[in-house]
């Protein structure tokens, strides 16, 4: 049975991870996401489901613990915030290279450097364009509510195992910290040894007589083989683009103008859409739910319908590059954003729409 609770985004994610049948969480404290591990430690999931929770010595250690756990076919996850996620990048690249499933939560804050503990969306490039070294992609989910913080824990594991790929949940300090009503799924069982053997035959669980040894590595010194491996990875990413693109279109049917925004910016933009519609201006909101794969096709289609597009991001404008790629030069695409941990207000967005798109 589903259960209704009032929770912080970070707590909802932690609870949902337990219920998704996670086997292990490895983390390191950083604001504004520390509630994830605090909640897990208080909840003692080891007694509830057998899930283990470990406070690592650093984000580097934590992501490498995720590597080790994922390589055993287990459902493992970590969470952090921007500076910590920067530290995880080498590990993420190894995980992508070795094709291991895992869930990583980034409750993003403002940067660069130590920046601020307030929310920001300036990790879009890091999340969607690599971050670590090599040609790899993570599947990136962008929640805009506490409900989605919970839902994406389970969905994240599902997608991670479907594609043997790391899934990043790119949230921000506002969604991590705010409290909302959330409907929680029922407890899903953890994988049994039998399920791991059958569903993830590549997992390192000890070489039994009936099979060859399993090796988890991202290394191939033979460049020709390494290129083939890279081609396989690229084919997998194209497959994700085909099957997993997710978005929400709000009031887009009759829209003459469009806002594209995700996460916290999407919530504020929705209010801005209401305000603009009250003025008689037909504005729609396209909210990407997956940042990779990016909803390029739907934005390209809307570009034929609208007169101009405003992207709203809590950054200097990063996602706008993907919107412009989708749109080409057909209509004007402009950015509005605040940085350094400042959340834009709906009226600021309305003003920007007037100045940069409608009047501009």
């Amino acid at each position: 049975m589903k259960e209704l609770r009032l929770m912080k985004g970070n707590e909802a994610f932690a609870e949902a991870a337990i219920r998704a049948g996670a086997d292990g969480y490895f983390g390191y404290p950083i604001t504004p996401q520390s509630e994830v591990m605090e909640y897990l430690m208080a909840e003692k999931p080891e007694e509830r489901t057998g899930m283990i929770v470990l406070q690592a010595e650093s984000e580097i250690a934590a992501i490498n613990m995720v590597y080790g756990g994922a390589a055993c076919g287990k459902r493992v996850l970590t969470s952090s915030s921007s500076p910590g996620v920067s530290l995880k990048q080498e590990g993420i690249s190894y995980i992508a290279g070795a094709e291991l499933p895992c869930v990583i939560l980034n409750v993003a804050r403002g940067g660069p450097g130590l920046g601020t503990i307030q929310p920001a969306q300036s990790d879009y490039f890091q999340s969607t364009k690599g971050g670590g070294h090599g040609d790899y992609k993570m599947l990136v989910l962008a929640p805009s509510s506490v409900q989605e913080m919970a839902d994406f824990a389970g969905l994240g594991f599902e997608l991670a195992f479907k594609y043997r790929n790391p899934v990043l949940i790119l949230s921000d300090g506002a969604i991590g910290q705010m409290m909302e009503k959330v409907e929680l799924d029922e407890q899903r069982p953890r994988f049994t040894d039998e399920e791991i053997k059958n569903n993830t035959p590549w997992a390192t669980t000890g070489k039994t007589k009936d099979r060859e040894r399993n090796i988890i590595t991202s290394l191939d010194l033979d460049s020709y083989k390494q290129e083939l491996h890279n081609l396989d990875l690229q084919a997998k990413y194209r497959e994700m683009e085909k099957n997993e693109t997710r978005y929400e279109a709000i009031s887009c049917d009759d829209a003459e103008y469009l806002i594209v925004a995700y996460g916290t910016s999407a919530r504020l933009s929705q209010k801005a859409v209401d305000l603009l519609r009250a003025e008689g201006i037909k504005v729609g909101l396209l909210r990407p739910i997956t940042l990779f794969p990016f909803p390029t096709a739907v934005i390209a289609k809307l570009a034929d319908q609208v007169k101009g597009i405003l992207t709203v991001e809590m950054s200097a404008g990063q996602m706008i590059e993907d919107v412009r790629l989708a749109v080409g030069c057909r209509v004007k695409v402009e950015h509005f954003g605040r940085m350094g941990g400042i959340i834009p207000s709906p009226t600021e967005i309305v003003d920007a729409m007037h100045k940069k798109i409608i009047g501009g």
């Binding site: 470990l54 055993c72 000890g206 399993n214």
Partner: protein
């Protein structure tokens, strides 16, 4: 004594030594004379003798032994440079009934991976760490390692390690022995048959400790890197005895039985 032909020599009744099945038939990628191969064999023989091949997960480092998984016929994971103890931590926590070990060089374990090493040891993870200390970065072509001796030449200390600017060699094994999480800390070598036997006993003890859930066992093997040291294998072993052993004395450092 009658001459024995090659064919006769290969008859099963004349065999006095056999490679363990836990080593694959793949030719080792190590330089002739290097201690890595012997260390591999010892670890695999111990797993074989304990009959735990099907329950063991090994973690290979970044370094010359990055390809250990090509030679060790068990399930293995290759870890990022220095991170093997963190990787092993998760594997063991999620599979407490399995045997887990890391196999790491000195650059991997005592420079870039110092934090992971110290903290896995301090948490007393119930794993085995095999530490190959050859005083140099072998894989990348003989650069200075945290364990390079004072005055010792390497490609990044071409005039010898100057401790005033490059620091002193790190006796990480002695440091680790201080931590309550470690149960057994020992330093061995593999350059003579007698030392091979001792090392094998130490490795066996380490895995037996893991079987008994006792905590972390740490086996350092002081080894040569004839290529990196720019010596013949024999010279390198002599140099090791004369120079490495006085600084890194062999023997048990901590035994908590």
């Amino acid at each position: 004594m009658a001459e024995i032909t090659k064919e006769e020599l290969r008859q099963p009744e004349n065999l006095i030594y056999k490679k363990t099945d836990l080593l694959t038939d793949k030719p080792l990628s190590y330089c002739p004379g290097c201690g890595h191969g012997t260390a591999h064999r010892i670890v695999m023989e111990v797993l074989d003798e304990m009959g735990i091949q099907d329950q063991t997960i090994g973690i290979a480092p970044v370094g010359c032994s990055v390809l250990a998984y090509e030679f060790m016929n068990i399930d293995m994971q290759q870890a990022a440079h220095g991170r093997a103890p963190a990787v092993a931590t998760a594997v063991k926590r999620l599979h407490p009934e399995k045997f887990v070990f890391t196999y790491q060089g000195d650059g991997d374990l005592a420079a870039i991976g110092t934090a992971e090493t110290i903290h896995a040891c301090n948490r007393g993870e119930n794993i085995v760490i095999i530490f190959i200390n050859n005083g140099i970065y072998g894989m990348t072509g003989g650069q200075m390692a945290p364990t390079t001796l004072p005055g010792m030449k390497s490609s990044t200390s071409p005039y010898g390690r100057d401790v005033a600017t490059m620091g002193n060699p790190l006796k990480i094994t002695e440091l680790i022995a201080q931590l309550p999480g470690t149960i057994y800390v020992t330093r061995q070598a593999v350059h003579t048959p007698a030392n091979v036997r001792k090392t094998k006993k130490a490795v066996r003890k380490a895995f037996e400790n893991q079987k008994l859930n006792k905590g972390l066992s740490f086996v350092e093997i002081v080894s040569n890197c004839n290529s990196g040291w720019k010596m013949t294998p024999r010279q390198s072993n002599e140099w090791m005895v004369e120079n490495m052993f006085p600084f890194y004395p062999l023997g048990d450092i901590k035994v908590n039985d």
